[in-house]
């Protein structure tokens, strides 16, 4: 019978089906970090349980870590205590930890792929909604709550109902200045933040095939922002080229066996999806958000919509009040004080290269604070090896040390109340970047141009 890519991987991981439609579902890799694991370890201990497969868990510290002076103790006592707790738990339970100071430390969704821990056909979970990122490799990857973290620790399994399958096809050549981030911000603006709830989304079409692995990760990363349980993309030569030679990727003969298997991971031609959507990628323009959820996005050169009543009106008005915007207003010319380039959406080497290529020989506007936070120690080292650090410094950007940083402001990197920040992260929720902060989500290219101009501009006029 014809199967979707999702079905092929799902079916391979069914330990057994339980009455009532639930599945005991096997997890190949479990990624953990300091925020959502302490209560899970505590629960495990309280029940007298141990980790069933500690060798299938990888840990890192990312949400709370400072982006300066990482060689020194963390100043904030609560952050320090949470990171210390992770270190203690990993030592006690025998989990590999890439903590502060380790050459592999970084954002959990950046290090999985770059180390080759993330591979096609696997199932990956983490107590973090952006686990959907790993789907870029043709992987069933999704975020879980802390109770589920405990379940995986204890049994290596989860009890799940099977999601529905949606395919989103993006065909067509991208316009100049349009990137993976714009594709996904566009799709989310069309579906809304709950539009894919209950679905696992497969992205397909020539525009997706044409993306680099970094771009594909950006797309899958934000699947959760339209409510999807996860996103995935069939592996292909781009995937295999990216993985070959990475630290934990299969080697030698194993590599050949792996690729032979991975090449079977695609949706059969006559596979049926529960929902299908198609978009013309060549019509997509550079995007930006204007409101307080990722579904509130428009082309940078368009105007904020005007809503005529409806059940969303109260939330829409509240959102625009928070942002200090009016319905029907254009965002062009708005002065911006902060630019944040980072997060599990856009902190990979390709993102840093995009920014450096644009700002080379230019200078950020005097009133803009521009911080750029690499996703991992390896990205940071690569940026230095390529001389990007000097280009960025000459342009007035501050290249910091790796972590989640101002994406969710659990460390010291906060945007002040009322200030506008163009951010490459994934969420523009109220207070996400600090109480009262106003976030506008955009691509690294839009962020770089905004930092130089000091205000929002129609970027198409700034491209060579």
């Amino acid at each position: 019978m014809a199967k979707t890519l999702f079905d092929k991987i799902w079916d391979a991981h069914v330990v057994r089906e339980v009455a009532g439609g639930l599945t005991v579902f096997y997890i190949d890799r479990h990624l953990i970090h300091e925020v959502t694991s302490p209560q899970a370890f505590e629960e495990l201990t309280a029940r007298g349980l141990t980790l069933r497969r500690p060798e299938q868990i990888v840990a890192t510290a990312d949400h709370n870590v400072p982006t300066r002076h990482q060689d020194q103790p963390i100043q904030d006592p609560l952050s320090r205590s949470q990171v210390d707790k992770l270190t203690e738990n990993c030592a006690k339970f025998g989990v590999e930890l890439y903590g502060l100071g380790h050459q592999y430390q970084g954002i959990v969704h950046v290090i999985g792929p770059e180390l080759g821990i993330t591979q096609p056909g696997l199932t990956i979970v983490c107590g973090d909604s952006h686990t959907s990122t790993h789907g870029a490799f043709g992987t069933i990857a999704f975020g879980i709550g802390t109770s589920q973290v405990t379940q995986v620790m204890a049994s290596q399994c989860l009890l799940l109902d099977k999601p529905k399958r949606m395919r989103i096809t993006l065909d067509g050549d991208l316009r100049p200045g349009v990137t993976a981030k714009d594709l996904i911000l566009y799709v989310i603006s069309q579906l809304g933040t709950g539009g894919a709830t209950g679905y696992f989304v497969e992205y397909a079409g020539s525009a997706i095939r044409g993306l680099s692995m970094e771009g594909r990760m950006t797309v899958c990363n934000m699947s959760i922002e339209m409510g999807a349980r996860g996103g995935l993309i069939a592996p292909d030569a781009t995937t295999f080229d990216y993985l070959e030679g990475r630290r934990f990727a299969p080697q030698g003969e194993n590599w050949d066996h792996a690729v032979a298997y991975w090449q079977t991971l695609y949706s059969d031609e006559d596979a049926v999806f529960d929902a299908e959507l198609q978009f013309d990628a060549s019509a997509i323009q550079p995007m930006i958000t204007y409101g307080t959820n990722p579904g509130m996005g428009i082309p940078l050169s368009a105007s904020i919509p005007v809503l005529n009543g409806g059940s969303e009106a109260t939330s829409f008005d509240k959102s625009l009040r928070y942002m200090g915007f009016q319905p029907g207003e254009s965002l062009l010319g708005k002065e911006i004080n902060y630019v944040f380039i980072g997060s599990c959406t856009n902190s990979r080497i390709e993102d840093l290269r995009t920014v450096a290529a644009y700002v080379r020989g230019k200078q950020k506007a005097a009133h803009v604070e521009a911080i750029i936070v690499p996703g991992s120690k390896q990205v940071e080292q690569q940026a230095i090896a390529e001389g990007l650090d000097k280009v960025l410094a000459d342009a007035g950007f501050e290249l910091r040390e790796p972590g989640c940083s101002a994406c969710l402001a659990m460390n010291d990197d906060k945007i002040p109340a009322g200030a506008y920040c163009v951010s490459t992260s994934n969420r523009n929720f109220e207070g996400r970047q600090g109480p009262g902060a106003r976030t506008l989500l955009a691509s690294p290219l839009v962020a770089a141009i905004t930092a130089v101009e000091g205000r929002l501009v129609d970027i198409t006029q700034y491209l060579n």
Binding site: D128, I144, R427
Partner: protein, 199 residues
């Protein structure tokens, strides 16, 4: 997990759509390493001023709704971050039921694992409930989990709601998934011996 069977309670109305888990519990309060105490920071940025004073216009500070254990929320409640702390905060603040016309997947799962019932109704019923509460802030609803019904004062018919039968049993009996998964040890071990896709 605490058992849940029936509940009769007043309602706290929050007629806002797409309430994300960053609002339910902002990230800066996620630094604890135990499950306790999150209720004090529930909806912190909507509930308190920057210097920690209660904002009089926020519903959780409205004396008319004090002690009510049902939260009535707009569509798509709990989107965003997977933080289970959001469900813990609601539970810790005394809520046992959240009614909405749509829940984000991860939040729904987290709520059920916490013992908090995510009760989904149609958009029409949700609007009707907001009207009932706006007319009588003390209107008490009855949730009967066994019968899967919601009884609303003044409404001729009870509202039936859907819930996965396994999850229903867990809530009624105070069980969780860990007990069940551990009981599957033999099947899991057998399964692991034939994993051919790990290289």
């Amino acid at each position: 997990m605490e058992k849940f069977q029936t509940l009769r309670s007043g309602v706290v109305p929050l007629p806002i759509e797409n309430v994300d888990t960053d609002q339910i519990i902002p990230a800066r309060f996620l630094k604890a390493t135990t499950r306790e105490g999150f209720g004090a920071n529930l909806f912190a940025d909507w509930r308190y001023t920057a210097d920690g004073q209660p904002k009089p216009d926020f519903v959780l500070n409205d004396a008319r709704y004090l002690g009510h254990q049902i939260l009535l929320a707009g569509k798509n409640f709990g989107c965003g971050s997977s933080r289970e702390h959001a469900a813990w905060a609601l539970y810790d603040a005394g809520f046992r039921v959240v009614i909405s016309s749509y829940f984000a997947d991860i939040f729904r799962g987290n709520a059920l694992n916490t013992g908090l019932l995510p009760l989904q109704v149609s958009d029409e019923v949700l609007q009707g409930l907001f009207e009932v509460v706006s007319q009588d802030p003390q209107a008490a609803l009855t949730v009967d989990l066994q019968a899967q019904t919601l009884t609303v004062p003044g409404w001729a018919e009870v509202i039936h709601f859907e819930l996965d039968p396994y999850k229903k049993e867990c809530l009624i009996n105070g069980y969780d998934d860990i007990d069940f998964l551990i009981s599957q040890e033999a099947a899991i071990t057998a399964f692991e011996q034939q994993r051919s896709w790990v290289f």
